[in-house]
């Protein structure tokens, strides 16, 4: 019996040693190589990053995106490697990326770990305000070697921002909330993008004193706050007339809210108010139009 155990132990050890050797071989072959050229195969791990890359003309170098990336239209045909917090490493490796760009939502351990190990440069961007979005556009442009175009886009964004500021200079702040969901009612709280947009668009976020970033409000509490405008952020194509009619129908159940009384319910595309990419300015303009319709001439209609 003891001898049998010894034999088994010996063979187990040998097999383990061989496996370790094989692993070492494979591992060393997977080690990083030096890299000095501009990235030619970029993987984006957030829709905002994808939009930015395409806007600055690096779209033809993007080889992988997330499930949620949907703009511009060509993106739908690109291989998907995951979503914000989880992605399929195998799929990503199969795309042979030489640069990965992610937002700070992505699991940093995995990014630092996997990618550094394999010598794949990773850029993590952080953007929680409109200003930071503009900075991020430049940052991404630098990282992928498209500085000039990025500079142009960023400059355009800054210009439109300045113009907006001018227009809104003397207007009173309009009390408003931005809702992501109706039932339960989830609003944009302090520190979010939408909060920053509301501020820049000449409004005051009635939910800015919440403790959480995406607080759940009861309708009663909203009634107490009495916002003058209610903006709903709708996902995917649902921001046309039909969506607005539905929103109005819902809110008519609470006529005591000033926004409902005056019929100032607006629906905007959720993507343009939550993705920190070049389209954020459009979102900003849409919200501004909802808050101060009198300042915007009739030709510029809602999207």
């Amino acid at each position: 019996m003891k001898r049998l155990i010894q034999i088994i132990a010996k063979w187990t050890f040998i097999i383990c040693a061989l496996s370790a050797l094989l692993t070492a071989c494979v591992n060393s072959n997977a080690a990083p190589k030096r890299q000095d050229r501009t990235p030619q195969r970029i993987v984006s791990l957030a829709p905002s990053i994808t939009e930015t890359l395409f806007a600055i003309g690096a779209g033809d170098r993007v080889v992988g995106v997330t499930l949620y990336c949907d703009w511009p239209v060509e993106v739908k045909n690109l291989p998907k490697v995951g979503q914000f917090t989880r992605f399929d490493i195998e799929k990503m490796l199969a795309l042979r990326p030489d640069m990965v760009i992610a937002t700070c939502d992505a699991p940093s351990e995995t990014i630092n770990h996997e990618l550094t190990q394999y010598g794949i440069p990773a850029l993590v961007v952080k953007a929680w305000t409109v200003e930071e979005s503009i900075k991020t556009v430049r940052e991404i442009g630098r990282a992928v070697g498209a500085e000039r175009k990025a500079q142009a886009i960023a400059g355009d964004m800054e210009r439109r921002l300045r113009k907006l500021r001018e227009r809104l200079k003397d207007s009173p702040k309009v009390k408003t909330v931005l809702a992501y969901d109706r039932e339960p009612l989830i609003l944009a709280g302090p520190g979010t993008f939408a909060d920053d947009i509301i501020r820049l668009a000449g409004g005051v976020n009635a939910a800015a004193d919440a403790r959480l970033k995406y607080p759940r409000y009861s309708i009663e509490r909203l009634v107490l706050r009495g916002p003058e405008v209610i903006i709903e952020a709708a996902h995917g194509g649902g921001y046309g007339d039909v969506a607005r009619k539905r929103a109005v129908a819902f809110w008519n159940g609470w006529p005591s809210i000033p926004a409902v009384k005056s019929g100032r319910i607006a629906v905007v595309d959720a993507d343009i108010v939550s993705r920190p990419g070049p389209r954020i300015i459009e979102g900003l303009e849409a919200v501004a139009r909802a808050l101060h319709p009198e300042l915007f001439p009739i030709e510029e209609t809602d999207r």
Partner: protein
């Protein structure tokens, strides 16, 4: 109708299981979301693809090793708990060890403490803390805590931590919650550096070294604690060694891969139904069987659905539950025998 264990039967059974394991590892390295196969490693030498193929194989290999280690460890820890609690329904999850680990992870996530290795470390400390808590609450005399006390204490500690976790998830932002939930359901994808593999490997081996030699004592424990003592078993010592061994295995596994339940319950149970309750065969078989089971589950978890992986905790439950039910019905035997 079963004959007592002989050396011959032991060797053959272990050999067959070892072969199954080897096959499972080979399959795990060959299957993934991309059509890369192990032999491509050599056929692609010299091409630009080679290094990427090597990296993909490396990823699969590390994941397979992790799955095998964790499966082996959790299954044996479950077997050990079942032996000292004299209850076939015991498993690491039940005894509060996992609750503490989850708490550690939530804590770190809630307060935004980031950095390499922070979450696993917190989970490990949490697990260790909750295991100590369970032992203390169930405090017994010279012969260690009574089985009932341990189970009860485990349920209490689990409930306590579950409450904290529920509170935390209701208050944290959705992004964090989603990430945490995935971790909680078992995630073999996040920590896979060689350092972590060695960490898990070390603790699993340590735990196995504590538990496996106690096999004969576990057999004797089935007669009852008093009878076991009357046959020369130091019951208190056996309980403590088993508890420590099972807990360090579980803490290490939880810290790296989140909560993977059912392995510690189903694998020992199934092997007991198939091979008999003699722990001298059962436990080594659990080592191999557990590795096999988790390898299959992990391979399925990451390859069945493209892009978004199923959490492995869901796969173990999904596969394990019905399979166990089928085995039980076939055998017809009771889960455990009672004679007062």
């Amino acid at each position: 109708m079963r004959k007592p264990l002989t050396a011959g039967r032991w060797v053959i059974t272990i050999a067959v299981l070892a072969v199954l394991c080897a096959v499972a590892i080979a399959a795990a390295i060959s299957v993934g979301t991309t059509p890369v196969k192990p032999w491509d490693f050599w056929s692609s030498i010299g091409t630009e693809e080679h290094i990427w193929i090597a990296r993909i194989l490396d990823y699969r290999m590390r994941r397979a090793i992790l799955a095998a280690l964790i499966g082996a460890g959790l299954a044996t820890a479950g077997g050990g708990f079942q032996a000292i609690l004299r209850n076939p329904l015991a498993e690491p999850y039940l005894l509060g060890v996992m609750g503490g680990g989850a708490f550690g992870a939530v804590f770190v996530m809630a307060f935004d403490i980031t950095g390499m290795g922070v979450r696993p470390l917190a989970a490990f400390i949490g697990s260790a803390l909750s295991m100590a808590l369970v032992w203390i609450i169930a405090r017994g005399g010279k012969s260690g805590p009574r089985a009932h006390s341990l189970i009860l204490a485990g349920v209490i500690v689990n409930a306590f931590f579950a409450g904290i976790i529920m509170f935390a998830t209701s208050v944290l932002g959705t992004g964090k919650v989603k990430s945490f939930l995935f971790w909680m359901m078992g995630d073999l994808a996040s920590e896979r550096g060689p350092g972590w593999l060695i960490f898990v490997g070390l603790y699993v081996v340590l735990g196995l070294v504590l538990i496996l030699p106690l096999s004969r004592d576990y057999n004797l424990l089935a007669l009852g604690e008093d009878s076991a003592r009357q046959l020369g078993v130091e019951v208190g010592r056996v309980k403590m060694l088993t508890y420590i061994g099972a807990c360090i295995i579980t803490a290490a596994c939880v810290s790296v891969a989140g909560l993977i339940g059912f392995v510690g319950l189903i694998v020992p149970h199934t092997i007991r139904l198939a091979l008999g309750p003699d722990h001298r065969l059962l436990l080594p078989a659990c080592v191999l069987g557990g590795a096999f089971f988790l390898l299959v589950c992990d391979t399925a978890a990451r390859s069945l659905f493209p892009v978004t992986e199923i959490p492995i905790g869901a796969v173990t439950a999904f596969f394990g539950g019905p399979f166990f039910l089928w085995l039980l019905r076939r055998r017809g035997a009771g889960i455990f025998s009672e004679r007062s």
